[in-house]
Symmetry: C2
Subunit: 184 residues, 2 copies
C-alpha cells in the first residue's frame, strides 16, 4: 500500500549544518515527483524517555525546571535523552533517580511517540514507574530541579489551567487517567 512507499527518495543534496550535544541539523534538497526541488529541514535527536512516577498513595511526581529554549520554568515528568548503546529502560531508571531522587521497583514500558514529526525525528518512550523508594537527588552541574507531588485530579486541573503545558506530561497524565478511570 501507499503507506510503505517513500515519495521523497530523490535526495539532490544533503547538507550537515550542525552536529551538536543534543541535536544535529541537516538540510536536504529533494526532487518531488513533479520534478521540482524542495527543501526539507531535519532536526536529528537521539530520542528520549519519560516516566509517570506513581507514589503508593496514588500521587504522581513532577519536576519543575528552567528550560532554556522556551525561556521558562516547566512542570513535567522526569525525562532524559537516550545515550548511544544504553537501553531505554536503564536510561529511564537513571534519569528518574537523578532528577527525582526516587528508585522504581516496577518500571514498565507503555508506548512510544514522535514529538514533532514535521521537522524532527525524536521519539520518546513512555514508562510508568511505581514501587518508588526515596534515595536522594543526584543532579548534574547547572541542573536545578524542584520535585513536587500532586494527585491525578490536581494534575488534570493544572492541564486545564495551563500550569501543566508539556506535551509528554499531558499525554502521560491523560493515559494514566484513561487506564485508571476510577482512580480519582
Amino acid at each position: 500500500m501507499a503507506g510503505e512507499r517513500n515519495p521523497e527518495t530523490a535526495v539532490v543534496r544533503h547538507e550537515v549544518l550542525h552536529r551538536g550535544k543534543v541535536v544535529d541539523l541537516f538540510v536536504d534538497t529533494i526532487r518531488l515527483p513533479s520534478g521540482k526541488e524542495a527543501i526539507r529541514e531535519v532536526v536529528h535527536h537521539p530520542g528520549g524517555v519519560v516516566a509517570i512516577p506513581i507514589l503508593d498513595d496514588g500521587r504522581v511526581l513532577l519536576i519543575r525546571q528552567f528550560r532554556y529554549a522556551p525561556q521558562k520554568y516547566i512542570l513535567e515528568f522526569p525525562a532524559g535523552k537516550l545515550d548511544s548503546g544504553q537501553p531505554p529502560l536503564e536510561t529511564m531508571q537513571r534519569e528518574l533517580e537523578e532528577e527525582t531522587g526516587y528508585h522504581s521497583g516496577d518500571l514498565r514500558y507503555v508506548l512510544s511517540f514522535h514529538t514533532s514529526p514535521g521537522f524532527c525525528d525524536e521519539v520518546i518512550h513512555l514508562f510508568t514507574a511505581s514501587d518508588l523508594t526515596h534515595a536522594g537527588q543526584r543532579l548534574e552541574e547547572g541542573e536545578h530541579i524542584l520535585v513536587e507531588s500532586y494527585s491525578l485530579e490536581e494534575c488534570l486541573h493544572m492541564i486545564r489551567t495551563g500550569d501543566i503545558a508539556d506535551a509528554k506530561t499531558i499525554l502521560g497524565l491523560l493515559w494514566h487517567r484513561f487506564q485508571n478511570p476510577d482512580f480519582l
Copy 2:
C-alpha cells in the same frame, strides 16, 4: 518564587547557525551560577496548530502523510505551522480545509503545549473542530495526504498497537476521551 527567575541569564555568546523555512537554530554559550560555561542548543519554531475533527456520527478524521524527518508515513490530526501575523484560529481553519477538505462550523480552542522544551520553543495550540461540512482538499505541491476516519474506540486501540504514534494526536485523542467518558 524560584519559578519566576531565570537562572541562565548570562549569555556569553549567541550564534545563529541557521535561519530556515520551518526552523532556526541558535547555539548559545551561557555562564552557570558556578562560573562554568555551558552550551544551549535552541531550535526556534514559530509554533503550530492542531485540530480534533469530529464528524456528526462521532468518528474523528485523521490524515496519513509521509514525514521526511522520521522517514515514515504518520497518522495524525490535521495540523500546521503558524505564519507570522495570522491568528491561530484562522490558521487552523485554513489547514483543516486544505488537508482534510472539511470546513468546521464550530472550531474551539482547547489548550496549548510545548512539544520538546528540552531543545525547542515550539508551542502547539489544540482545537476541536465539529459541525464539519465537506468542501474538498486543497493540497500544496508535494503534499500527498490520505484522509481516514475512525471511531474513538478504534483510535484508542491504535494508540495501544502503535499505529497512532504522534504525540499531539495521542494527546488530543486522550483529551477527547477524557472530556467524553461515555462517548464510546
